[in-house]
């Protein structure tokens, strides 16, 4: 018997977790660069057909791009969306250039602090950056993001940001217990603020572990279980992106999407083949094949897979 409380398990199926996301919700996802995006969740959300979403997207290029490519996004509050080493997120760029979606731009710190303001239940958050640029001057909302106020303690004028609270935050972690206490190996992007800011939090996890394992590593717990509503067990949930310390990005498969994104027709064919044509994440992994998945496993010192460039 475990000496630690296991409570009522929050573990649900991927389909049940995605089903709790309402049509038209505002969403924020974990992930940075090509790592740590909850892509198994995004694919299930796409299969369920809902849309009309608003995204609060700091660095989650892959979730934002796939949802926009499928026409499920109306508005994005963003700080940077691009594919490192590849180039532009073309479906998003095409949607902006054609006026299909609206955007409001921030700096990375600005958008992160708006989420933190919501997470800390503050009416505003001071910031020195963004000032003087078009990130201050162009505000397409819908809510105002940046104002200036007089400091109550000096003669200084200071920029302040409004809070931003997503309806649902979805984050992918390396390990979680059945309560959603989640450990992320490597950088956490802005997951700490996202899970505090969101009204609902869904954790997808590479491994579900016993409470003892979380307790033993309790200084590494980025996601406090008390904030989490649902937990989904999803090995290789960030694929074809990587998960630091576990598996490397699959550049060939990511490049496959990037090439398809050159045209609307090709991107639709990609989504049909790799998302809508597959029943669930198990079928997706089956399609990738165990040999390819094992080749992506990283060396425990260098944190890179063999055969993916020099260490």
């Amino acid at each position: 018997m475990s000496p630690y409380s296991t409570g009522t398990s929050k573990i649900v199926s991927m389909a049940d977790a995605a089903a709790t996301v309402p049509e038209g919700a505002s969403l924020s996802f974990g992930g940075f660069g090509h790592f740590g995006h909850p892509l198994s969740f995004v694919r299930e959300l796409l299969r369920q057909g809902k849309g009309g979403f608003t995204l609060h997207a700091v660095a989650e290029c892959w979730p934002a791009e796939l949802l926009t490519a499928a026409g499920r996004v109306n508005h994005i509050n963003l700080s940077n969306l691009m594919f490192e080493g590849l180039g532009r997120v073309r479906a998003i760029c095409r949607a902006v250039e054609n006026g299909w979606i609206t955007t409001d731009d921030h700096s990375h710190l600005g958008l992160s602090l708006r989420l933190l303001a919501a997470g800390w239940d503050m009416p505003f958050m001071p910031i020195r950056t963004m000032a003087g640029s078009d990130l201050e001057h162009i505000q397409t909302g819908p809510a105002p993001k940046f104002r200036r106020i007089a400091s109550p303690f000096s003669d200084e004028q200071v920029g302040v940001l409004s809070p931003l609270s997503p309806d649902v935050a979805v984050v992918h972690v390396s390990e979680s217990d059945n309560q959603g206490n989640g450990i992320i190996r490597g950088q956490i992007s802005v997951v700490d603020a996202q899970v505090r800011a969101a009204k609902r939090v869904i954790v997808t996890a590479e491994r579900i572990v016993e409470p003892e394992e979380i307790v033993r590593n309790n200084q590494l717990v980025t996601v406090p279980g008390i904030l989490v509503d649902q937990v989904v067990h999803s090995p290789y949930g960030a694929y074809p992106g990587g998960m630091y310390g576990l598996y490397d990005e699959d550049m060939e498969l990511m490049d496959h999407y990037y090439e398809a994104s050159r045209s609307e027709e090709a991107v639709a064919a990609y989504l049909a083949e790799w998302i809508f044509g597959l029943a669930d994440h198990a079928e997706y992994l089956d399609r990738i094949g165990s040999q390819r998945l094992l080749e992506a496993v990283v060396d425990p010192v260098h944190m890179l897979a063999r055969g993916r460039g020099e260490w």
């Binding site: 660095a59 710190l109 490397d248 944190m303 460039g309």
Partner: protein, 261 residues
């Protein structure tokens, strides 16, 4: 390639690296500036600290990193946290230097990396990635350097979108906006090295790379760059610098393709 020859990319890399002082704490992205930082660390700035917006602190990668999210940076860093922690270290005034690029630059060193042409921000001809940490770095780092290829499309009279603040509208504008960083200290392009006048904050020329004429610069610039009376040639890369770039730092040409261009 015969001895003494070098590519324009190699010249840009070496010129960028020369801006980096030993002991500096610097935010440097990927691409050519990353190669320049490795070169500076291997030569005159062994004690510089590489920092990234993802919260990666003091990374010492053994081989060239492909991206800011590259595991090579995290697996060799002294501390790894997240975006808020990394960018608030910057916001707190702890970062000496940043290197930034962009799609457009104007005479005051303002940068656009958001949207180009069309009907403006909401309906541009070309949407780009957006600020990311660039606006934060330009606002809060003590100084920053612009590294960009020199064309008339890039060097424009007015940026279509002011993503990242240089000297904004000119003298005093950064101070009025409340920015604590001093602003851009230079621009490195494939044609030369440029600076900003201490009084007017307008871009001026510091040196031209070997084989480049003032007419080349004028033809590739959409505004008047101030030309000093004395315009030297940028010191070319040394044999040692070229050796390091080609055989140690980027031997597989991840960023620097071999051969004169």
């Amino acid at each position: 390639m015969v001895s003494g020859e070098f590519t324009r990319d190699e010249m840009m890399t070496v010129a960028t690296g020369r801006f980096i002082h030993d002991g500096w704490k610097a935010f440097i992205g990927t691409g050519l500036p990353m190669v320049a930082a490795y070169l500076a660390k291997a030569t005159h700035a062994p004690n510089m600290t590489l920092m990234f917006e993802s919260g990666v602190l003091a990374a010492e990668p053994r081989t060239i990193a492909r991206a800011v999210g590259d595991p090579r940076l995290q697996s060799t860093a002294r501390r790894v946290s997240g975006m808020l922690d990394g960018l608030l270290l910057l916001h707190g005034g702890n970062v000496d230097f940043g290197v930034l690029g962009g799609a457009q630059v104007d005479r005051f060193g303002n940068i656009n990396s958001t949207a180009v042409g069309g009907e403006g921000y909401s309906r541009p001809a070309t949407r780009l990635g957006g600020s990311g940490g660039a606006n934060d770095i330009a606002s809060a780092a003590k100084e920053f350097l612009i590294v960009v290829r020199h064309t008339r499309r890039t060097f424009v009279e007015r940026v279509d979108h002011l993503t990242t603040p240089g000297y904004l509208t000119g003298p005093g504008a950064r101070e009025a906006a409340g920015l604590h960083g001093r602003g851009p200290i230079g621009v490195v392009t494939d044609l030369g090295v440029f600076g900003f006048d201490a009084t007017t904050k307008r871009m001026n020329a510091t040196s031209l790379h070997e084989g480049i004429t003032w007419a080349d610069v004028e033809a590739a610039t959409g505004f008047d760059i101030d030309r000093p009376d004395d315009l030297p040639t940028t010191p070319p890369p040394s044999e040692h610098e070229l050796h390091l770039l080609r055989t140690v730092i980027d031997p597989n040409g991840v960023y620097l393709k071999g051969g004169p261009q």
